[in-house]
Symmetry: C2
Subunit: 222 residues, 2 copies
């Protein structure tokens, strides 16, 4: 196995985040996949990093790709749930798109490992990950539906095809985080602001932001 | 080695793009790295795909990471050269940023393999690739300088930090191409248009596009 990052000492206690062995396995795998690479990481290395035996790991995950699938699912679960709830919401489209982009950027920044960096793995294009790909396509679809509504409401001559861009702009957090070595917290404002502007929306961005904050609070309280 | 894509038959003739053995090696490696993965590809597999012996490959590249480095350099060489020339150009900043983004999107779409997908490899964060990373940072710096000038000229209350986004937006071509399985040629217009709009530039986009086309023609003729 190529050792690409600084070595992490194996401690006798469990140094892992998570209250369950499953969560600890995911945390260790998230670190190894993003720092040493997916292909370079064996299930044995994951078990070692958690401080459990490989047989115990197999009790939770039958194979390495099951671990990857679970990690990938985590990256979209919360924004997906929010997007589904926003569909049924009566707030204006700019407020809803702002809320979704803000929430999604925040969770991509807050995640302990930059798991979105795994989206470009060639392994993801295999049959094994078709369910994940479809789910992420659905999330992208939610973004596009909201973006189309923003463009329609903006009235101005829009940019043809711009509805695909807010989802993509949100995911640039992954590249920024990879290049800068830390989560770009400034992006929580910059990216939702820019997403509305590039759809031709000329309204007040501070208002959009405070409306989105209220909307997110309301949904969190429901 | 995991076989992740459909197998490509080894032919007796050289089926590779390129007029030199070096170019053929790069083409084969570009395919294997993007379809099977970098870690999953041996120099032996690259040599086999070209139809040469491994010893002959080593005559051109001493190690696998030298092949990766050469491929990565290719992805930024042309936009980098253009960006350097645009610095000295007297055209307005929106025209120059439009030209750079358009040219860069076009080359990312036209490249035979989606090599930008390799930017997120953990291997790139090692010492070996520091020269490439610095070079790409310089390109990003050129984008940001142009974007700052566009924001300043736009006069409107800008989005704080938006100058980092045009470079990132251009590179979303890589994710789109990976997800859609083909180059998003529509992005050649959508992305430069959106880059100007998110910087608060409210001018005529068709004019920006035709000015940028003239600028690119002029520079190509020089």
């Amino acid at each position: 196995m190529a050792n690409l990052g600084p070595g992490r000492p194996r401690s006798e206690q469990r140094p892992r985040r998570g209250h369950t062995p499953r969560a600890e396995i995911l945390d260790a795998a998230g670190e190894l996949f993003t720092t040493n690479g997916y292909a370079n990481t064996s299930t044995r290395a994951v078990a070692d990093a958690v401080g459990i035996r490989q047989a115990s790991l197999y009790h939770h995950f039958a194979a390495k790709d099951d671990i990857l699938d679970a990690l990938l699912a985590e990256t979209i679960a919360a924004p997906f749930e929010l997007a589904e709830r926003l569909r049924a919401d009566a707030d204006p489209a700019p407020t809803r798109l702002y809320a979704l982009a803000w929430f999604d950027v925040r969770q991509l920044c807050a995640a302990r490992w930059n798991l979105g960096a795994l989206y470009l793995l060639p392994e993801l294009r295999t049959e094994r990950f078709v369910a994940f790909r479809l789910r992420r396509d659905e999330l992208r679809g939610h973004y596009e539906t909201l973006a189309e509504a923003v463009i329609e409401g903006a009235g101005a001559a829009g940019i043809p095809g711009a509805e695909v861009l807010p989802f993509r702009l949100v995911e640039t957090v992954i590249s920024i985080r990879s290049d800068e070595g830390r989560a770009p917290t400034y992006a929580e404002q910059t990216i939702p602001d820019a997403a509305l502007r590039m759809l031709g929306w000329a309204g007040d961005l501070e208002e959009a932001r405070s409306d989105a904050a209220l909307l997110l609070e309301r949904l969190a309280a429901d």
